[in-house]
């Protein structure tokens, strides 16, 4: 699955509600079918269409589960770290870098754990910011692309962001990258956290509206 997430796929509450209804009816259909085999063929055909359709729709939201894979070791190359849209002369195509965990709920959850235990939350809180800038809004000083966020964490930034590359592993940084992207809903809904086990601080990431990311100057 591509990590390039199209924001237009998400964000319609009504659509998700109908997904769940379809999924429920499809599962009911399977249960009835298995137990009694009394459905007439026409009804069965309708049920299969509903089932196939809902599985397809659910598939849009479900993470692609992965097992026994090696942690990512690759760090973004310098050509991917451009943070300016202005290029003198003919514009070059900046290579897109896929975040290995943008579609992986477990890794995003790990990223959230790191975000709190490594004290990212001490400066950025739960995305609203404090000492550091907010991470849940549409403004990005050093870029919102996975490789740009990777670099912000690994290399640090000059106005107070520490350089974490000697403290965290590449895998941990990628987990953080996807969690940070989830704060403004830049990753698929299915991979975002749906609840918070603490005092209600904000809407969970899964319910946060998509922000259209923009490069911005220092606030």
């Amino acid at each position: 699955m591509s990590s390039r997430f199209d924001p237009s796929l998400g964000g319609h509450k009504g659509m998700y509600t109908s997904h769940s209804l379809l999924a429920t009816s499809a599962l009911t259909a399977i249960a009835v079918d298995d137990d009694s085999c009394q459905f007439k063929s026409g009804k069965w055909r309708v049920a299969s269409v509903i089932l196939a359709g809902s599985l397809l729709l659910i598939g849009c939201e479900r993470e692609n589960r992965r097992f026994s894979e090696n942690p990512p070791t690759a760090t973004p190359t310098s050509t991917a770290l451009v943070v300016s849209d202005l290029q003198p002369g003919p514009a070059m195509v900046i290579p897109k870098v896929d975040a290995p965990y943008d579609d992986n709920a477990w890794a995003v959850s790990e990223g959230k754990g790191l975000f709190n235990s490594m004290n990212c939350s001490g400066c950025h809180f739960q995305g609203g910011g404090g000492i550091g800038p907010p991470l849940m809004d549409e403004e990005w000083i050093y870029g919102y692309e996975p490789q740009q966020i990777f670099s912000s964490i690994a290399d640090g930034r000059p106005n107070g962001m520490p350089a974490w590359k000697y403290t965290l592993s590449t895998q941990q940084i990628w987990e953080l990258v996807s969690y940070v992207r989830s704060l403004s809903s830049l990753i698929p809904k299915g991979a975002r956290n749906g609840r918070d086990d603490h005092m209600m601080r904000k809407t969970p990431e899964a319910s946060t509206p998509n922000a259209v990311p923009k490069m911005s100057s220092t606030p």
């Binding site: 709190n116 235990s117 490594m118 004290n119 001490g122 400066c123 809180f125 739960q126 995305g127 609203g128 910011g129 404090g130 000492i131 550091g132 800038p133 907010p134 849940m136 809004d137 403004e139 640090g156 000059p158 106005n159 107070g160 962001m161 520490p162 403290t167 603490h198 005092m199 209600m200 601080r201 904000k202 809407t203 946060t208 606030p219």
Partner: protein, 622 residues
């Protein structure tokens, strides 16, 4: 006072410069109008010092025309004897001049005036400007860029503020966010020395205004939210060399507790309490900085200051009294030796720092003349303390409190309400006052004419949940989820006149937003303060009636002051919203996260509609 009288006094003063301090103080008395004389006892004490004091803070600048340190005098009264602007004519104030600081973060500093020059310091990057008062339009005489480390912005808990510079013995002395203390030649702006005191890789920064006493510059560290080991250092005013360091946690020898140490209460007596009142080794990262105010009593020759909150905020991670956090220290300025200490909030549960100002006043207390500390504390109690012994004479609430049940005056101990304690993984709701306390850094003023203390403060409560905090040097060490909101009544700010003898509020002005500016009071019986939506206000010091207001370009969270130049009185204040309370604007924070900026953002969601950022000086005159 008529103009001729002032001129005569001024020329009289010029002839007398250089004579003994006693003569100088007599002169000051003679310069006062008749109606001031009766009430000037304390003010007189506040403006004179012993003849042994070095530097010119106690002689040449013992003059209401000047304002050489943020708190005006050593005693921290923020009272000016000037009367040209008074409660009968203050409504005629108009803007005399402005100056842009060129910065966009919170401005907490006071303008400083010495020798016909106004000195300003900006928030990070801590640029110093000298403005020439002798020329039309107050042009810049010189400016100085200390170029603090950019990365120091990452270890400043609550906006990158600076609380002011001081002028002493022909030097401008100030601190930078990255923990340097710098002295400049006041006339030329040339750097004289630059001493690194703090280490940002340990989470240390410096935001406070230094105080200079007898050739020593006192500087305290910020970083109670970064697991620093708090300290106050003394630097030699002439060489910039470190003279002594007093830590606020650890063994007595590091805290400069020796044979002279005689705390009044049993709870503060004992050996190495700075170690034994902590879990093993946790004093090494226990916070307790000193980022507020230092005051000085020339008669007892003691400095007074308060220490900050212990770290982390989560109290369950640090069983014990956590000495010497949230404590008042009285020390000898020469060697730093502690004379007494009093812990205001032992085992702090709610970030009740003890950095607030100790205003030093001699007054009648229950029939006898006492040397007192007047202190509106962050925990919500107004303390009256004998500054010789450290005995608490009174501690009455000046704000709404439900986290504690008063102070036991026989033991000195703050009485916590157990149900309001902060617990790991549990949410305690409606804790009042919230983490910034009933009053944060914003300094109060004392008028010897009215005998009242003018307290700018806030009315906030909070929900709080303890979290496990993980110490990583140079990163925040807090361990709490906080969500603040307005306290009872719905107003978030107050400007109160408090009678320290009667121990009650005399008048109170409610403000929609927290009153995060300092107070100024004058012998013209006018009190000044600013609001976070940019109003600069003058009220009658006796009645609290509104007299005048002016809307500046940004919210005011700084310290107003007054000075005289060319026989004319001026009032000056810096606008520029920010600080902890204004971080939502200064840092462009997102209010959808109610825990942002340690939970303050939740209480300030409307501020971006009420103020925009930008540092600017405003000077007013009749």
């Amino acid at each position: 006072m008529p103009g001729r009288g002032r001129a005569r006094c001024a020329s009289h003063r010029r002839r007398l410069i250089g004579v003994a301090v006693a003569a100088g103080s007599a002169l000051l008395v003679s310069c006062k109008g008749d109606k001031e004389k009766d009430d000037a006892r304390v003010a007189l004490a506040a403006r004179t010092g012993p003849a042994t004091a070095t530097g010119d803070t106690t002689t040449k600048y013992a003059d209401d025309g000047q304002w050489v340190r943020p708190a005006k005098d050593f005693q921290g009264t923020r009272f000016s004897g000037l009367t040209e602007i008074n409660n009968t004519n203050v409504q005629n104030l108009h803007v005399f001049g402005t100056f842009s600081l060129g910065t966009t973060r919170g401005v907490e500093a006071a303008p400083i005036v010495a020798d016909n020059t106004m000195y300003l310091i900006t928030p990070f990057p801590n640029i110093v400007y000298a403005l020439d008062l002798t020329k039309e339009g107050m042009p810049t005489k010189w400016s100085f860029k200390p170029r603090p480390e950019n990365a120091s912005q990452g270890v400043a808990c609550c906006d990158v503020v600076n609380r002011g510079l001081v002028v002493d013995a022909g030097k401008v002395i100030f601190n930078t966010l990255d923990g340097r203390t710098i002295a400049l030649d006041a006339a030329t702006g040339k750097e004289l020395w630059d001493t690194q005191l703090a280490n940002i890789n340990l989470g240390e920064s410096v935001t406070m205004a230094p105080l200079v006493v007898k050739g020593k510059v006192f500087v305290g560290v910020s970083g109670g939210e970064f697991g620093v080991r708090g300290w106050l250092k003394a630097v030699d005013e002439n060489s910039g060399k470190l003279a002594w360091t007093a830590y606020h946690t650890g063994p007595d020898k590091d805290v400069l507790i020796g044979p002279d140490f005689k705390p009044f209460y049993k709870m503060d007596q004992g050996k190495d309490l700075g170690v034994s009142s902590w879990p093993a080794d946790q004093w090494k990262i226990g916070g307790a900085g000193a980022w507020g105010w230092v005051t000085y009593d020339p008669e007892l020759d003691l400095i007074y200051y308060g220490t900050a909150n212990p770290g982390p905020w989560n109290p369950e991670m640090r069983p014990g009294d956590n000495k010497w956090s949230s404590t008042i220290f009285a020390r000898h300025p020469d060697n730093g030796e502690a004379v007494w200490a009093y812990q205001l909030s032992p085992h702090d549960e709610h970030d009740y720092d003890g950095v607030n100002e100790n205003i030093l006043v001699d007054m009648d207390w229950k029939g006898s003349r006492r040397q007192l500390i007047l202190r509106p504390d962050r925990n919500g109690y107004f303390y009256v303390i004998d500054r010789k012994s450290g005995e608490v004479l009174s501690a009455e609430p000046f704000g709404f409190i439900n986290t504690t049940n008063g102070v036991d005056l026989t033991t000195g101990r703050l009485q916590y309400v157990p149900e309001k304690a902060t617990r790991l993984g549990q949410v305690t709701r409606y804790n009042c006052p919230a983490a910034p306390g009933a009053k944060d850094w914003q300094p109060a003023a004392y008028s010897p004419r009215t005998g009242l203390v003018y307290i700018p403060h806030q009315n906030l409560c909070e929900d709080e949940e303890g979290l496990e905090a993980n110490y990583i040097a140079g990163t925040p060490f807090v361990g709490a989820n906080v969500k603040m909101y307005a306290g009872p009544g719905g107003h978030r700010g107050l400007f109160d006149a408090w009678d320290p003898v009667g121990q009650h509020v005399v008048w109170s002005k409610q403000e929609d937003l927290p009153v995060w500016s300092g107070a100024l009071v004058t012998a013209g019986d006018v009190a000044f303060y600013g609001t976070m939506d940019g109003w600069f206000k003058a009220v009658d010091a006796r009645t609290g009636h509104d007299l005048w207001k002016f809307k500046t370009g940004s919210g005011i969270i700084s310290q107003p002051m007054t000075y005289r130049y060319g026989g004319k009185q001026y009032i000056a204040v810096l606008a520029g919203v920010g600080g902890w309370s204004g971080a939502i604007v200064a840092g462009g924070l997102d209010a959808r996260d109610s825990s942002a900026a340690l939970g303050f953002v939740n209480a300030m969601k409307d501020l971006p509609q009420k103020s925009t950022k930008g540092g600017m000086l405003y000077v007013f005159a009749l």
